[in-house]
């Protein structure tokens, strides 16, 4: 082996290693091998470096703002190493140097602003041919290397340590430890706390905060009257015990869990019909104060942790956190869609539980936080090793019972269908022998009608011994209006009953009528009898090609269907050179159209030629063809009968044979194979049609007129009997049989148990590590990313996950008191919902791009107390709500506002707008309409009569309810940490004009009239107590009285009281909480 070849081979091996992501040894070796000649250096400096500098460095140097494609061209080492697509330059190998193909705009197109002059490209070629001499030493690397040691110093990654409660100067103000923290910050900032809120303000705040509903007047009055030291605690405890607490706080979690019950795409939108069980589980987890660490673990790995006790399935329902995750459209780029689904899982997991944005590392190392790409794929691999699972929530025997029940329904239904199909066919076919009689009876009817007399069809039927129902259908079928629709009846319509002489009921008919009727009957009989192997419709059986047009079919069968699964084919092929066997979908689409050319053979004076022994010239269409097997490779079977010889295809398909000389006829049976027609659903509708050409088909294989058998015997034909009527046509045991089958079917339906409950859960899948996708592209992979936790949280030497997918280990790593993020993130979420803003204002992003905590020590204090309390969220509420900080009024203070306009340092309570759930629920509650039922399947908000709490609304990813969307409900396609708050006129159009708002106004007015029978003053007072939890001021009272004393417009659809009630419900005081 020549040394140059060895070099190349080594380089190839190196390249391979590089692509696999194992950096290192070659570069050094290769670098050492380079000896630079002065003229080479000169060439590089003159011809190469300036071009690189001018056209490439902007995107491909260590100083680039955004390094594109992972490629750096500012050092020899990185040029040889290359980027995502491989080495940019392979010395002495122009063909393998991607740089050249990029410059030539061959695949890659560089530089993007346009192709460089050919002379420049030629210089690069020359340079590579001389070995790509390059004096630039050094190991330039993109600036994305993560310094974990440095990164670990960031506050969010520091362990949680319970801080000392700070001393404050103003010692009379704090009520709890929390107040020491807030006061300490206020004192640093020279802020003064506002006065405490009034008791009315406080109880309204506390009630909306904990249960999402307004306080009832009786509770307000009791609290105002309660002067004991426990007054506040009493209210807090009452609210925490309320079952409505979970509805309020569960819904906050559902935002994080991007809870919904469907998917965003339109083609076959998948409804997760049992999705509500996850919502109910979350609500009840909050109500029962489930320890948060357990709450976390169950949602990640409930299936692996197991049930709390026998008959409990909550551990599976909890998995809805992922089980209800996004599923994307996978029709074309399935790998990309699957990768996007993994991204949904990783993103929701890390932002939801950890408050960090790992998803950023899907394409490249996180630019701001210490999350390398490999970490992303370590987590993604855990989900790739798991799968969606609709888990039954019942004992195995319940499933068996259900399945047995379903089986019985299916079987008995199939039995009825089969019976009906056969009986109908038989019923119709059995009457083919009466066709002539029916036609003659119709003649009598029509002649009578033409002569101004009305014959009764029932009489005619009786006289002729025919069925009156069918005779009616024949009368319709042969009505002169239908002339020309069925060519086989042209002779009949030529007889013109209108011109005929009047006849008596028993007089003989003109012979021509009987002749035509007999002829038509015989034709049908022949067709019926010809199912298996004899010619049916030979279009051009003319001998030679007198009337044959080239490219038109020589022969077309009727439609071949499940009911008539075969049709004989017999074609004159004299003088033809080629044979085109065409099977079409029969005009109704190609579902289940498994077709066979059974026993195809050529016949001539010298004998038969079996075409299954002859290689066709070509075969084109939906499928390949199989010799002596059906389309699926199984034995050919049609109408339940097996055939040894034939060609199995799937329509539409065309087979072409070159014809050997000397044959005169082609014969075969065209058949619909049982493998298609036995399939559920489409099998019943499957139809195919066979046609034979002797030239390349030009015209479609359309039969002359419709298939006569279908016309007469089909479901609209004059001999057809409907399912419903069939029973009347059956006699004796047959009739009994049908009744038995039907009652069996009814019984099966009645006695079958309802579908058991399921959970949209997760389960273990096939376990494997993923490889890192280069730039997130699933088609291009780099090194393996072992399943394990994040390096920044678990250290470089973190253990690999070994138990199945690793979800259980992951859940333990997350729900751990040692995890610096989990507790902090959750206490911050709770804090946010009490104060309108978190201590960290970006609750799902504790990273560099998130906001720094305003009270870092307080955050740690709360997190530590949270863990100490056994991760009790209710304890956390108590801690927060007993504080003086929580008790502050929302009053404005000019001096404070100068320093801290956003109230980041909590010198007052921030005024909050109710979210759409609390607002809608409050409207219903105040108007007296709210249905406080808990749980169950979701309800439709668009229904004006829906008076359930908003948490029970259907949440759609595909099309979010318009009210929810209008009032800033988040898009359920993505996890959401906080609601945006917009104020737009469309919202106020809802307040002014929507039927919902008007309905509440009417109900509120009616309630007030019910509860206060006399006097507008008292009614207004009651209205204020219900809506705002306070008495009206004198001015407000007067405004109300004046309004109500106005002159009503008779055209208005609202009374003055109703429109006044709408004002109270639509006011700022109703939607803003102090």
């Amino acid at each position: 082996m020549k040394s140059e070849d060895m070099f190349r081979e080594r380089l190839a091996a190196v390249t391979l290693l590089l692509v696999m992501g194992i950096p290192g040894f070659v570069l050094a070796e290769d670098g050492a091998a380079q000896t630079l000649k002065p003229e080479h250096v000169e060439f590089f400096e003159k011809k190469i470096r300036p071009v690189l500098l001018r056209h490439c460095y902007k995107c491909h140097s260590a100083d680039a703002k955004n390094v594109k494609g992972g490629l750096l061209l500012d050092a020899r080492e990185t040029v040889l190493k290359g980027g995502d697509s491989g080495p940019a330059v392979v010395p002495r190998n122009v063909a393998k140097s991607l740089l050249i193909s990029a410059l030539r705009q061959d695949g890659l197109e560089m530089p993007p602003e346009g192709k460089l002059p050919d002379a420049v490209i030629a210089d690069f070629v020359k340079w590579i041919e001389m070995g790509a001499p390059d004096p630039r030493v050094g190991t330039a690397t993109a600036k994305s290397q993560i310094d974990f040691e440095q990164a670990g110093k960031f506050w969010a990654f520091q362990p949680i340590e319970k801080p000392q409660v700070p001393e404050v100067r103003r010692t009379d103000w704090p009520r709890t430890d929390i107040d020491h923290f807030t006061m300490s910050r206020m004192e640093q900032m020279r802020l003064v706390p506002m006065a405490a809120a009034t008791k009315r303000e406080w109880i309204r705040r506390a009630t909306f905060d904990l249960i999402g509903l307004p306080p009832q007047p009786k509770h307000i009055d009791a609290f105002v009257a309660d002067e004991s030291p426990q007054a506040y605690d009493t209210v807090i405890e009452r609210l925490l015990k309320s079952e409505h607490y979970g509805e309020r706080w569960g819904r906050y979690w559902l935002d994080v869990a991007r809870y919904s019950e469907d998917q965003a795409h339109t083609f076959s939108v998948r409804k997760n019909t049992n999705g509500f069980r996850y919502r109910d589980w979350v609500v009840s987890a909050f109500n029962s104060d489930m320890p948060y660490d357990k709450f976390v673990k169950l949602q990640i790995a409930g299936d692996l942790i197991g049930a709390d006790g026998e008959g409990s399935y909550d551990h599976l329902i909890a998995l809805g956190f992922f089980g209800l995750g996004a599923q994307y459209y996978k029709n074309s780029d399935a790998a990309q869609a699957a990768a996007d689904e993994l991204d949904d899982r990783v993103d929701t997991l890390t932002r939801g539980f950890l408050g960090i944005t790992v998803s950023c590392a899907r394409c490249h190392d996180h630019k701001f936080d210490p999350i390398p790409t490999q970490d992303y794929y370590s987590l993604a691999g855990i989900f790739r090793s798991s799968k969606l699972n609709n888990a039954p929530l019942c004992a195995p025997e319940d499933i068996r019972t259900y399945n047995t029940g379903r089986e019985r329904i299916k079987k008995s239904e199939a039995a009825v269908k089969k019976f009906l199909a056969e009986a109908k066919e038989t019923a119709a076919a059995s009457k083919v022998g009466d066709i002539s009689k029916y036609m003659q009876a119709v003649w009598r009817y029509q002649v009578a009608a033409a002569n101004g007399r009305r014959a009764k069809s029932s009489d005619l039927a009786r006289q002729a011994g025919l069925n009156a129902f069918l005779l009616k259908r024949w009368i319709g079928f042969l009505d002169p209006k239908r002339k020309g629709q069925v060519s086989e009846l042209d002779d009949w319509f030529a007889l013109k009953p209108a011109a005929a002489e009047p006849i008596d009921s028993d007089s003989a008919l003109p012979p021509a009528v009987a002749e035509v009727a007999d002829g038509f009957q015989q034709r049908l009989q022949r067709l019926l009898g010809n199912d298996d192997g004899v010619a049916t419709t030979n279009l051009v059986d003319t001998g030679g090609d007198k009337s044959h047009q080239a490219g038109s079919p020589r022969f077309v069968t009727p439609l071949v269907t499940k009911v008539r699964p075969t049709s004989g084919i017999d074609v004159d092929i004299r003088q033809a050179k080629q044979l085109f066997l065409v099977v079409s979908d029969g005009g109704n689409g190609k579902s289940c159209d498994h077709a066979d050319w059974i026993a195809p053979r050529l016949i001539g004076s010298q004998g038969e030629l079996d075409l299954t022994q002859v290689k066709w010239k070509s075969l084109e269409g939906f499928s390949g063809g199989r010799i002596n097997k059906n389309y699926q490779g199984k034995p050919i079977r049609a109408g339940g009968k097996t055939y040894p010889r034939g060609v199995g295809v799937h329509a539409p398909t065309t087979i072409v044979y070159d014809l050997p000389p000397g044959y005169e006829r082609f014969r075969a049976i065209g058949a619909l194979d049982n493998s298609g027609s036995d399939q559920g659903g489409c099998g019943d509708q499957a139809s195919v049609q066979f046609s034979v050409y002797t030239e390349k088909p030009v015209t479609g294989p359309v039969a002359p007129g419709k298939d006569l058998l279908s016309i007469v015997l089909g479901k609209d034909g004059p001999l057809a009997v409907s399912d419903k009527d069939l029973e009347n046509f059956l006699t004796g045991p047959k009739r009994e049989q049908l009744r038995t089958l039907r009652s069996e079917f009814e019984d099966a339906k009645k006695s079958a148990p309802a579908m058991y409950a399921i959970a949209h859960a997760y389960a273990e899948g096939s376990v494997a590590d993923m490889r890192v996708f280069i730039r997130g592209n699933p088609a291009r992979k780099r090194e393996v990313a072992p399943r394990r936790f994040l390096r920044i949280l678990a250290g470089e030497q973190r253990p690999l996950y070994k138990q199945g997918s690793g979800r259980k280990e992951l859940s333990e790593d997350i729900a751990s008191p040692d995890n610096p993020l989990t507790a902090r993130v959750m206490v911050n979420r709770v804090w946010q919902h009490h104060f309108g803003r978190g201590i960290v204002a970006t609750p799902s992003n504790f990273g560099k791009l998130g906001e720094a905590p305003t009270h870092p020590a307080l955050l740690d204090y709360l997190a530590a107390r949270f863990i100490e309390s056994g991760w009790s969220i209710k304890t956390l509420h108590r801690l927060i709500m007993r504080s003086a900080t929580y008790r502050l009024s929302s009053t404005l203070h000019a001096a404070n506002a100068e320093i801290d306009a956003d109230n980041r340092f909590l010198w007052k309570m921030s005024r909050q707008r109710l979210d759409v759930e609390a607002w809608r629920d409050a409207l219903l509650d105040v108007s007296g309409k709210l249905d406080r039922t808990l749980g169950g399947p979701s309800t439709n908000l668009a229904d004006a009569n829906n008076v359930r709490r908003t948490v029970y609304a259907q949440i759609s990813r595909h099309e979010l309810d318009s009210l929810l969307r209008l009032f800033d409900f988040p898009d359920a396609n993505i996890t959401s940490a906080q609601r945006t708050e917009t104020t737009v006129p469309q919202q106020q159009l809802f307040v002014l004009n929507s039927p919902f708002m008007v309905a509440q106004a009417k109900a509120f007015s009616a309630r007030l009239h019910r509860e206060v029978t006399d006097g507008n003053q008292d009614r207004i007072r009651r209205a204020f107590a219900l809506a705002y939890g306070r008495p009206p001021t004198e001015i407000e009272l007067q405004l109300g009285l004046d309004y109500l004393a106005g002159k009503p417009d008779p055209d208005n659809k609202l009374t003055l009281w109703e429109s006044y009630a709408q004002v109270l419900l639509g006011g700022n005081e109703f939607i803003y909480l102090d």
Binding site: F267, S332, T357, A841, D902, I974, N993, L1039, N1052, K1053
Partner: protein, 470 residues
């Protein structure tokens, strides 16, 4: 301060005047100070639809996107390929690209092409009226996208990704520029029924909900009373409603006064109620096509699409930022079975589109209004099912008109059969970058921080195709 921003400040002033005098404190200062910052407080207090300055001088102020959903065929409309005649029925290697379904040999266009205008650009007989406007049109013949399926491609054309997880271009425009008329939604989607995918195509996604497109189903007619939800008060006479609203305003003012008289959010809602009251009349007027002259209505012709085009003109005239007019329910241009079916669709759109261009031009609005025509992808030059054409993401045509675009030009090219874009390829990302640029926005700077990173309409892609600009 350069001229651009001065201009924009004026617009903002005007818009504030439009919003009425209201409460003084809502004030100019607060709105002007807010600028680019999107703090929560700012979101809640300022009207997020207030006009905002562009990054640089815009060439266009409005976009009308005429969406031929289903995917019109380029070789039968704006990209003539004589080679198809010659190779009809054959499948040379260059025509052997993979699309969604099985295709056979090349299929020549059943439609004849003819040169139009001074530019002599060839347009097929499907678009004789549009042909007369060709000197105002810039045909891009080298579009391409990623996936030959409707759902992902509709999402790509609207939001720049193939999954339903990103805001639509109209939402981005509203976020970046606001809207000139506060009494109307700023991003309106007219579609009889719904296109495939549906609401995700005009979704705000992670942007605030106010930036979502407002879908108007005008399958029956453009009914002013129903176009916007709850626009019509059916309960009280206007006088009675005014009296009711006066009471509400008074109560809200008392509420505000008790809270120190200053709270931007409370004031904003008081304003917003007044705006809603005015919107009831203004929006209904804008959508009342009967206010147009007989002559204008006849110029546009009849039918859903014609109504959509006329409504679009009235909307941009009233300051709406972006209007999409979809051809129809489902995916009507999806002619797999027989490409001749394109004729029916073209007949319904040809005259209205030409009327729209001429109408805008005559009103001197075309220079400010960018018209975008096209589907989610094109169709194959090879046949499917005999006479139909399959989806084609490799190459297709779109065209732009008005809004600072050079008319009477073609840009880019497909291969000799019209299958794949080969010269001056324009990806959907590039189109988005270009449209944003025309609207005065730098697609790399129009970002929204979400989930720990800055998102863009064009993600990490997009090249502004400067060659198209006048």
């Amino acid at each position: 301060m350069d001229l651009t921003t001065q201009h924009d400040v004026l617009t903002r002033r005007e818009s504030l005047q439009r919003m009425g005098t209201g409460l003084g404190m809502l004030g100019l200062a607060g709105l002007l100070a807010e600028e680019e910052s999107w703090s929560r407080a700012a979101q809640a207090t300022a009207n997020p639809l207030t006009p905002k300055p562009a990054h640089f001088a815009p060439r266009a102020k409005h976009v009308i996107h005429l969406f031929m959903n289903g995917g019109p065929s380029q070789v039968d409309t704006f990209d003539p390929k004589p080679a198809l005649e010659k190779y009809n029925g054959q499948r040379p290697p260059a025509a052997d690209l993979k699309t969604e379904r099985k295709t056979t040999g090349l299929l020549k266009s059943p439609f004849k092409f003819k040169k139009y205008g001074a530019s002599g650009i060839e347009v097929s007989e499907l678009f004789p009226h549009v042909g007369t406007c060709i000197d105002d049109i810039c045909v891009i013949r080298s579009m391409h996208t990623d996936i030959p399926n409707h759902e992902p491609s509709l999402l790509m054309m609207n939001s720049g990704v193939t999954q339903p997880t990103r805001p639509a271009m109209g939402s981005w425009l509203l976020y970046g520029l606001g809207s000139e008329n506060q009494n109307l939604p700023g991003f309106i989607v007219l579609c009889p029924g719904k296109p495939v995918v549906g609401p995700q195509l005009w979704s705000n996604s992670f942007l605030p909900g106010v930036f979502q497109g407002t879908h108007i189903n005008h399958s029956k007619s453009v009914d002013p009373k129903n176009v916007i939800r709850h626009i019509n008060n059916t309960y009280l006479s206007r006088t009675s409603q005014r009296r009711q609203l006066d009471l509400l305003k008074r109560m809200n003012e008392l509420h505000l006064a008790r809270r120190g008289g200053r709270d931007n959010r409370l004031e904003a809602r008081i304003q917003s109620l007044e705006m809603a009251f005015r919107m009831q009349t203004e929006a209904q007027q804008v959508f009342d096509l009967n206010q147009e002259t007989k002559q204008t209505r006849e110029a546009y012709g009849g039918g859903q699409f014609a109504n959509g085009c006329l409504a679009a003109r009235r909307l941009v005239e009233s300051g709406v930022r972006m209007v999409q007019v979809y051809y129809g329910n489902g995916q009507p241009w999806d002619d797999h079975g027989n490409i001749k079916m394109h004729a029916d669709k073209a007949k319904n759109v040809d005259q209205p589109i030409a009327a729209l261009i001429k109408d805008l031009k005559q009103r001197d609005l075309l220079k400010d209004t960018l018209i975008v025509w096209g589907g989610e992808f094109g169709r194959t030059p090879v046949a499917e099912n005999g006479n139909g054409r399959d989806h084609n993401h490799h190459g297709f045509s779109m065209w732009l008109a008005g809004g600072g675009v050079r008319g009477g030009m073609t840009y880019g090219a497909t291969d000799e059969f019209g299958f794949a874009a080969v010269d001056n390829k324009v990806h959907v990302h590039d189109l988005h970058a270009t449209i944003l640029h025309l609207m005065g926005l730098d697609h790399e700077k129009l970002t929204y921080r979400y989930s720990g990173r800055d998102f863009r309409l064009t993600d990490v892609h997009g090249r502004v195709v400067h060659e198209l600009f006048a």
